[in-house]
Amino acid sequence: MERMTEEQVKTIANMLRKRSLWMIHYCTGCGAMELPPTMTSRYDMERFGLAPYVTSRQADILLITGYLNVKTLRRVITVYEQMLDPKYVIGFGSCALNGGVYWDSYAVIKQLDRYIPADLYIAGCMPRPEAIISAFRHLMELIDSGKADGYKRYKRNLAYYKENQRKVLG
């Protein structure tokens, strides 16, 4: 009985979480260019309860909007670790996936989820606002079913992530 209620609490919490996703205001790469249209009057992300918030403490989603170079990665990790659980990461565009057009650049991190756990990727360069919104909808489904557990994975595999981060950042 007790487990049941705990389960129910989790369901309710997830239901609330998916309806109010605050993303951190951090334009890590050029994918951020398609965020203003998504936020503003034409696509109006706020319909889904998504809103940009300023500091790492307030936000739920970290958007890695495009490529990450080494200098940014350090800040992204700081920001990610400052965020409060539950927190979700969305990798934006092909650069976050595999380096994209910068596959041969010395400055760019090739694969995002070696360093921080990504819950979702959006393919494309750049992803269109429709794609972004569809990704958010998908994330909501994942949260609802409890599958968006990147923050748990990060805690579980902290050694792995730290090792990878250390290799790059030194």
Binding site: T28, P36, T40, K71, T72, V79, V101, S105, C125
Partner: protein, 367 residues
């Protein structure tokens, strides 16, 4: 006694227009020193371009400046054409002009939203960025992409306009001209806007010239200089337009200059559509791009971006890949020679507004 303290504007801060950091030292709420901290967006473009064929580089260059990618394509195409000695067809020139001006319009509407945002007027930001989106739809019509078009390429443009595109452009211009009246009423004619921007971040004529400012900063300081007029490219020499100037050089003047330029661009697009040859090739005959042969030599091609002079310096050693490429973005100058000096003595409340007013575009700084 610890008089001053440090504050970071960026990278994770709404007051910075992109992934860039500004480290400011403040005393009370007055800036004592400001130091830009670039490198968060460094992707080694110039190095990467040396390793790729000329045609491959086309995919890379629009990403140098995200808000207005087309200027990169134009400058790159012009540099390659210059090296190869190719003259592009008349119709391509006009199409390039229309696309470039449309990109400028898209940039300025977004910039206007950004400026209003830093001053706390989010309504205009919502309106103008929403209106910009219709311009992106027009791009999407001709090349299938909203942001990175890769439409202008060496020899002309990639493909001809879709039928009826000109009409959609004209109707968009009519729409935007009506909207501009609304923008003026809510923002540019607003008393509070004048109150906040008059006398802020002044760059005088002498300073602007000495510090190497270009674009709206220079025009706002009273120097009528514009690459489109002084060294015309594409079809600008056939178009009739004025270069607006103001004398104060403050944030208000820059906003006004951009507002006029926005209207200027709309008029230029109308003119270009009217004067454009209705038929004809849109691309000169070019050798096979994969075996692309560019003769030895070096060149500097420049265009007028929304922020100022944007140029490509390119050296070719006769192989399929460029030997050396250097990009001159206007933002770099504006950030490190102008903003760092202008910010000193400003109030904290004006910092992010000053950055937007000088139109700092971080990806252009880092490359």
């Amino acid at each position: 006694m610890n008089k001053s303290y440090e504050l970071f504007i960026g990278p994770n801060h709404p007051g910075i227009p992109g992934n860039f950091s500004l480290k400011i030292e403040l005393e009370g709420d007055t800036v004592v020193s400001a130091k830009g901290d670039p490198g968060y967006l460094h992707r080694a473009f110039e190095k990467a371009m040396e390793g790729r064929y000329y045609i491959q580089n086309l995919a890379l260059i629009p990403r140098i400046c995200v808000p207005e990618p087309d200027i990169n394509e134009a400058a790159y195409a012009m540099a390659v054409e210059d090296l190869m000695g190719v003259e592009i067809p008349e119709r391509a020139k006009y199409i390039r002009t229309i696309v470039l001006e449309l990109a400028r319009v898209a940039n300025y509407t977004m910039w206007l939203g950004g400026l209003a945002g830093t001053l706390g007027l989010y309504t205009l930001a919502q309106w103008s960025i929403g209106d910009r989106d219709y311009a992106l739809d027009l791009f999407s019509d001709i090349c299938g992409a909203r942001v990175y078009h890769m439409y202008i390429w060496p020899g002309g443009v990639r493909r001809d306009l879709t039928p009826g595109w000109e009409d959609s452009v004209l109707s968009y211009i009519r729409y935007l001209k009506n909207r501009l009246i609304d923008y003026d009423n809510i923002f540019l004619k607003n008393v509070m806007f004048k109150y906040r921007t008059k006398g802020i971040a002044v760059v005088t004529k002498e300073q602007a010239i000495e510090w190497g400012a270009t674009g709206p900063i220079l025009k706002a300081a009273g120097v009528a200089q514009d690459v489109r007029k002084d060294d015309p490219y594409a079809a600008y020499e056939y178009l009739d337009f004025e270069i607006p100037t103001l004398t104060d050089g403050d944030s208000w003047s820059r906003a006004m200059i951009r507002r006029w330029e926005l209207e200027n661009s709309l008029n230029m697009i109308e003119q270009a559509i009217k004067k454009m040859p209705k038929k004809g090739p849109v691309c000169a005959k070019m050798p096979n791009p994969l075996k692309g042969y560019v003769p030895e030599g070096e060149t500097y091609a420049k265009v007028e971006s929304a922020r100022g002079e944007h140029g490509f310096y390119m050296v070719s050693d006769g192989t399929g890949k460029p030997y050396r490429v250097a990009v001159r973005g206007a933002s770099h100058t504006h950030m490190f020679t102008i903003a760092e000096k202008v910010l000193v003595g400003q109030r904290l409340a004006d910092v992010s507004h000053t950055l937007v007013s000088l139109d700092i575009c971080p990806p252009e700084i880092d490359r």
